[in-house]
């Protein structure tokens, strides 16, 4: 064990058991998986992406590129989990990835020997030819050899929540500047949300030894968090990563509600998606330490200096027994102090700079090699560090024995989120790092994310920034003072050190296995733009988006191309800042909750009476009603059609769109909306209407009924209900706002039933004995408002089936009651319920165009309704419908088809060919839009759009169905198959 006997922010009274690659270990509450693995001296935790190099733990945060493991098992297995960000829990199970047969002995590490073919751009070079082999051979080979973890392939057993939140100030990151800002804003009464990726708030205060106002930094942080938690206006979100900045001051964040538990508590989601709207946001994301580029810098045991300090100070874990430090700034010296304070020997401190910092005075250098203007040029050991070779300023090489190398190449402000908006960061000569020059509206970086690296300046910056926000929002800021900051770190120049003359594999991008020589190769091949370099070498394209690698790579490129870094520039990052699960984006919208389901008022009645339902948009509609003994859907549908045409049937048509149009100009508006005339419609009458789009094509059809001079009731098809509502609002608000007319959707307010068949009048008369329904009193297309059992109803004599038929509407809450009463009144007449399939069969028998025919590409003329276009008035689509292309007599238009052989089946989608024509696209003269078996006629019938249309009635053609490989000879006929004179519906 390498757990220190004292210190740390772990709870030693709560030991936790866990398993890695099948072996049992134990850690403490407060550990991350990485800390617990190090405490158990597990150093080799992963194999790299391309070369299968042994890899250890590099960092102590979410920027980790190496220590990716598969967390949990079975359906909950989550690949590529960063061990450095996974909170330890009792019973945790993790396993390593990308190795075979085992982590210690990985046969695919042979890739290293083949590394010359895996160099930059290898995808483009090595596997170029022959192209035919790519899919069969090369790609599977690469996919097997290179990669990370695999998905479980099982359905996700967890649920995900979504929450929308609004605040005055969103603080991203709870380090020194974030805490100071949140405290200032919280005390000033702002609505504050403080989000931090980590399980504990405090950021670097948890990892460094510092003192604020007489308390240890970590204790000060805990005190601030406690105070913030007491404010009702402050929301604390630990374990929450803000992953993106969006338009309109919106932020996306994922709260890992249950990921620190073996599985979510009952009723709890695994994660919660937060959509946060913030008047202002402060990016207090801190800074990320830069690695140094030297051969063997990826060996297990080489770590970021700040990570070594974090493991010592926060987790009381010694990541090694003897350390060498390689640094280009003061951070490495600080880590040396932390190591010595924990009783761990420092074998060497190598600084790229010429002078020792003041900090060095506090170090015991008695048994320590110090090399200035030096570099580590080699690492001994493969699966763990065994020693390092140091070259000093004079070129002299010394070897030291060590099992830990702590490196620090300076710090990069963590500004990724701020570049989401297409803001390319700019190089700061002063800081030697990229900073945000421009930020998204209402968003600003603070603390070290803004280049204010010292603890004192970060705290001050947080207070300053929050105070400004408070003032901007017109409130008075609380007085803030944070006295007596003692920092052991101090500030130093943040120089960028780029090595020259490297031999061996020195990694720039650890996760994608991109080395310094890859960058040089890319530069020599002409890939000198930052964006080209990125794509050619894949540097920065791994899941960490190059948080560690980017700047070093750009430094190398600048060196190669003799440019400055400022000239070379840097890339922008895009959401998500850290990877997020797809499940959390989907949230509750999966399975049956994928979209809302709409039920009509008598849905339950239909279900109780054998209905098979079909999805029509969001609606569930009864497709047919299965009677005892019926095993084939066609049996049910044929029976329903015959019963309706021979007696009476009832169908729930409540899903049709319904719109009330009211006002003095209602008639004028409808005249302009419909192609035909509605101002002439008498009160108490309904009329079929056709709507065009402004481009002249058919949009929708339905009926409009006039209940009073200034009151119309419009119906639309089920599919177009929302679209027509929008269209009407567009017409009355945008095109003709001067019209005094209102429109409102009443689709959900009315339940509507169609009663059709020769016996429909008798049924209705039995239901409504007080209303005179004789043909003389209530003609075809008559309509009126009446009462049934005291409740208002609307009655229409309209027909879709071609039979004598009525539609009756009642308030939706009484829909089922009305339906049951009609069934009771209709029982003596043998009434049957029928579904959408029978409805469809009857409308095809009558040649009524529906959605299949009104497909957005057909004109009124195409559908045989050209004469409906009024010439007496302006209406939407009038002018464009007259274009030659839309009135060409050669256009395909609506006809009926019947098979020459009555036993043959016609199918929708099949193409029409002239007899004897070769079946190819150029010869297609039409296609079937709707087809059905007609129980009335006893054979299959279809509606089709055919070139020349009506002119060709009587012609024999071939119906060619390539998909189903059938050819059916057919005869073109009139589209109206049943009762062409329309006598039934008027009788």
């Amino acid at each position: 064990m390498s757990r220190l006997s004292t210190g740390g922010l772990i709870d030693r009274t709560r030991p936790l058991k866990f398993t890695f690659d099948g072996k049992q270990y134990s850690g403490f509450e407060g550990d991350t998986l990485a800390a617990a693995l190090l405490a158990n001296e597990v150093r080799l935790v992963a194999r790299s992406f391309k070369y299968h190099r042994p890899r250890g733990i590099l960092t102590a945060g979410t920027e980790e590129p190496n220590a990716l493991v598969t967390l949990r098992e079975g359906a909950r297995a989550e690949p590529n989990s960063k061990a450095t960000a996974v909170p330890l829990y009792d019973g945790l199970v993790a396993s390593s990835q990308n190795r075979w047969p085992s982590l210690g002995f990985d046969l695919l590490a042979l890739n290293q020997l083949a590394s010359p073919i895996f160099v930059a751009g290898f995808y483009y070079k090595t596997f170029m030819r022959p192209a035919a082999l790519w899919e069969k051979l090369y790609e599977p080979l690469i996919r097997r050899a290179a990669g990370l973890g695999a998905l479980s392939g099982l359905p996700d057993p967890d649920s995900y929540d979504r929450k929308h939140a609004f605040c005055d100030l969103l603080v991203i990151g709870a380090g020194p500047s974030g805490l100071a800002a949140a405290l200032t804003a919280g005390r000033s009464g702002l609505r504050v949300i403080l989000a931090d990726d980590d399980m504990a708030m405090g950021g670097h205060l948890l990892k460094e030894r510092s003192e604020i106002a007489g308390a240890a930094g970590a204790d000060w942080a805990a005190g601030v968090v406690e105070e913030l938690a007491s404010y009702p206006n402050v929301t604390l979100l630990p374990r929450t990563g803000v992953f993106g900045v969006y338009d309109g001051h919106e932020y996306g964040a994922v709260e890992r509600v249950s990921d620190h538990l073996p599985e979510p508590l009952p009723g709890q989601p695994r994660q919660r998606f937060w959509k946060i709207v913030a008047r202002h946001a402060l990016l207090a994301s801190g800074a990320i330490e830069r690695p140094l580029i030297f051969p063997g810098n990826d060996r297990p045991g080489v770590m970021m200096a700040s990570a070594v300090s974090a493991y010592l100070n926060r987790f009381a874990v010694a990541p090694g027994k003897k350390a060498a430090i390689f640094t280009s700034c003061d951070t490495g010296w600080q880590t040396a102090l932390d190591l010595q304070a924990a009783g761990i020997g420092v074998a060497a401190v190598v600084d790229t700079r010429a002078q020792m910092p003041a900090l060095a005075d506090r170090l015991d250098l008695s048994d320590c090699v110090v090399a200035l203007q030096g570099a580590i040029v080699d690492i001994k050991g493969s699966k763990s560090v065994k020693g390092a070779t140091i070259r000093d300023g004079s070129g002299k090489e010394t070897s030291v024995v060590c099992d830990l190398v702590a490196m620090s190449g300076g710090w990069n402000p963590a500004i990724g989120l701020g570049s989401n908006f297409g803001n390319r960061p700019v190089w700061s000569e002063e800081l030697n790092a990229f900073l945000l020059d421009k930020a998204p509206p209402g968003f600003s970086p603070v603390g070290s994310a803004a280049g204010r690296m010292s603890l004192t300046s970060a705290l001050g910056d947080g207070i300053r920034a929050a105070t400004e926000v408070v003032q901007q929002l017109g409130k008075s800021p609380a007085e803030m003072a944070i006295a007596d900051v003692a920092e052991t770190g101090g500030t130093s120049e943040n120089m960028l050190w780029v090595p020259s003359g490297i031999e061996g594999k020195a990694f720039v991008d650890f996760q994608n296995d991109v080395t310094a020589s890859d960058i040089k190769l890319a530069a020599s091949e002409g890939f000198v733009s930052i964006e080209h370099l990125k794509r050619y070498t894949t540097m920065g394209m791994a899941t960490d988006q190059g948080k560690l690698s980017q700047l070093n790579g750009h430094g190398l490129l600048a060196e190669e191309t003799k440019k400055t870094i400022a000239e070379a520039g840097t890339i922008m990052s895009r959401p998500p800042y850290t990877p997020i699960a797809l499940g959390v984006i989907a949230g509750h919208h999966r399975g049956e909750h994928f979209r809302p389901v709409r039920h009509t008022a008598s849905h339950d009645w239909a279900a109780e009476n054998g209905a098979a339902f079909v999805d029509v948009g969001q609606w569930k509609r009864a497709q047919w009603f299965v009677q005892p003994g019926e095993t084939e859907w066609r049996t049910s549908v044929d029976r329903e059609v015959k019963a309706t045409r021979g007696g009476v049937g009832i169908c729930d048509v409540s899903t049709l769109g319904k719109i009330d149009v009211l006002g003095p100009d209602a008639a004028t508006l409808l005249d302009r909306l419909y192609a035909n005339m509605f101002s002439t419609l008498p009160v108490g009458r309904a009329r079929y209407g056709l709507m065009l789009r402004e481009d002249g094509f058919v949009m929708d059809d339905g009926t409009a009924t006039r209940f009073a001079e200034d009151r119309y009731y419009v119906t639309t098809t089920t599919a177009n209900a929302a679209r027509v509502m929008q269209h009407i609002d567009f017409a009355r608000q945008v095109i003709w706002p001067e019209l005094d007319v209102q429109a409102t959707s009443v689709t959900e307010q009315w339940a509507t039933y169609s009663i059709a068949g020769p016996q429909s009048r008798a049924v209705l008369q039995a239901l409504l004995p007080d209303i005179d329904l004789t043909n003389e009193a209530f003609k075809f297309m008559a309509a009126g408002e009446y009462r049934w059992r005291g409740t208002k109803i609307r009655l229409f004599r309209v027909s879709f089936s071609g039979e004598l038929a009525y539609e009756i509407s009642i308030g939706a809450n009484r829909g089922r009651q009305l339906l049951e009463a009609i069934m009771e009144a209709g029982a003596p007449f043998g009434i049957v319920p029928y579904g959408t399939e029978a409805l469809g069969v009857m409308r095809i028998e009558k040649g009524h165009p529906a959605g299949n025919e009104m497909n957005g590409q057909t004109t009124a003329g195409d559908l045989g309704m050209g004469r409906m276009l009024s010439t007496k008035k302006d209406f939407i689509g009038r002018a464009m419908a007259q274009r030659p292309g839309l009135t060409d007599p050669g256009r395909m238009s609506l006809v009926g088809l019947k098979p020459i052989d009555p036993a043959a089946t016609l199918r929708a989608g099949a193409h029409l060919l002239a007899k004897g024509a070769e079946p190819k696209a150029a010869n297609v003269q039409g296609r079937v839009t709707s087809a059905a078996f007609s129980p009335t006629l006893g054979y299959s019938i279809a509606l089709a759009l055919v070139t020349g249309g009506q002119e060709r009635i009587g012609e024999e053609m071939l119906l060619n169905d390539i998909v189903r490989a059938t050819d059916v000879p057919v005869e073109i006929c009139d589209a109206v198959f049943v009762d062409p004179a329309g006598e039934r519906l008027r009788g």
Partner: protein, 87 residues
């Protein structure tokens, strides 16, 4: 993204239906076919501020004219379309 509905206040853009350029004005019929052609098919596509139509479908059902900068999506004005053109 947030849309400032003049009737409802700031609302999530998911509540709205986007239509596009608000500048085409429907020609008074009778008009030349070319005028209707322009109205139906031709749209400006500027890099910069543009007046455009949004429909608050899941809210007040008002058509709204927004002035939005296509380069950064900044919305500088919003009004009910039925209340006429802005100055």
């Amino acid at each position: 993204m947030r849309i400032p509905c003049p009737y409802c206040g700031d609302r999530d853009s998911q509540e709205f239906v986007y239509r596009g350029d608000a500048s085409p004005v429907r020609p008074a019929d009778p008009a030349e076919e070319t005028e209707f052609f322009d109205y139906v098919y031709l749209r400006e596509n500027p890099a910069g501020p543009i007046d455009e139509l949004w429909y608050h479908a899941q809210g007040c059902r008002n058509w709204i004219t927004l002035t939005r900068d296509t380069r950064d999506h900044a919305i500088s004005a919003a009004r009910l379309t039925s209340e006429g053109k802005s100055a």
